[in-house]
């Protein structure tokens, strides 16, 4: 079933185009030109999910949009000396989001960092998860509770499940908390 949900069956067909990526239209063009200071993007990513992740298509679409937006930032995007986001940082960011989220998770917010890295954050009530990914793709997590006390302060590796487990648990708890409106 996940195979079917994840992709258009015949992407190259033309007479009856299948649902998939929206075509660029005049609204897209208008949006593009009306955004002040937006540089012409030189890179973009496509996220293709594995067979076991068909139910995460919504998350992939969201992450793809957010990451492509920050990848479009050019040199000096902060008005000073900020570097463009590196491919390494973007790759680790996406790997971490998929490692930390499941199909019921609250998606994080994405922020570019001046060194070419990315920060992703979840905030619910007073609790917060902040993951900083530097330009080289190395990641560090800081988790605080309602009182501001630090619960987790450690390096994160998308490929090492033991480093992810405490943060995964907090993201899950924050998602439930957000869904229940508390």
């Amino acid at each position: 079933m996940t195979q079917l949900l994840d992709r258009p069956i015949a992407p190259g067909a033309t007479l009856y185009p299948q649902a998939g990526r929206d075509r660029v239209d005049t609204q897209d063009a208008e949006d593009f030109y009306l955004q002040p200071g937006l540089s012409v993007p030189k890179r973009q990513i496509f996220i293709q999910l594995g067979a076991a992740q068909g139910n995460l298509r919504w998350l992939a679409d969201h992450v793809q949009t957010e990451v492509n937006a920050i990848l479009a930032l050019g040199e000096g995007w902060d008005g000073h000396r900020a570097r463009p986001i590196t491919d390494e940082a973007a790759g680790t960011t996406i790997g971490l989001v998929f490692a930390l989220c499941d199909d019921l998770s609250l998606p994080p917010q994405f922020f570019p960092l001046p060194d070419g890295g990315v920060q992703i954050e979840w905030h619910v009530g007073g609790e917060a998860v902040e993951v900083e990914i530097d330009w080289s793709g190395d990641a560090h997590a800081l988790v605080t509770d309602d009182s501001g006390a630090v619960i987790v302060d450690s390096a994160l590796d998308p490929a090492a499940s033991e480093s992810l487990l405490p943060v995964q648990a907090v993201v899950r708890r924050l998602s439930i908390r957000a869904a229940s409106g508390r």
């Binding site: 190259g12 067909a13 075509r23 992939a60 479009a72």
Partner: protein
Amino acid sequence: MTSDENPGDPAHLPDFEDPPVVEVALGVQFRPIPRLRPVEMASLREQWRSEYPVVLDQPPLPPTIEQPTSGPRTTQLVFGPALQTRLWFLSEDQSSLVQIQHDRLTVNWRKLDGVPYPRYPAVRDMFDRSFDDVEEFVADRGFGPLEITQVEANYINRIDAADEGRGHLEEILRHWSSLAGHHLGDPEEARVAMVFRVPEIGTPPVRLYVECAPAQQVGQAPVLLLTLTVRGAPTTSDLGSALGFMDKAHAHIVHSFAELTTDAMHEHWRRNR
């Protein structure tokens, strides 16, 4: 079909005099060649001008790679240059189409104005010639080899269905039962999708996707589309391997089409064997 018959032998393939196929797309994905851009393809446009005089820009298609069902959660990331486009090279009557982007080549035959289906060998030959031209083009310019990573064969069949027929898939699909016993009666519309693993082609996983679903073109009557696609990695990354993959994929698609559809529809499409 008996076990000692070659499923790909055209003499053993089901054959229809008036098949409902409206589009065939044969294509490959290859390792991205960032310099394969419209501005670089000016000479290819010239070379193809007599056969494909109409050229259109389209948004690029994202990569579609068959992946194993089991194993660790995998997320494939593809970094590529933005603002890439897919070029369409169309014949004068627009029934033949070659689609090129930096990581794909697909040829399509499209049924327009009642042009009869030219049959698989003609579309395969069109793909073969187009690939040769593109391979020579990128080699001449030092863009690197075309290393094929995925091969795909798509057959789109259009089945006219009146308003009340789009929920009656049992008239089209052999294994679909009527839902007349449902307390709300027959469904207004129905959609069926299946995925089969295809053994002994290319490098696993190779899959056959089948979908029967309602569709409608602007200003035209609603129809049912029966789409069959085989996709996967070839054994090696060269053209010969891709063509061998396509031949077997075509055979599986034709067999599946005949096995999945009803005798009444076969009669309507005038099945010969």
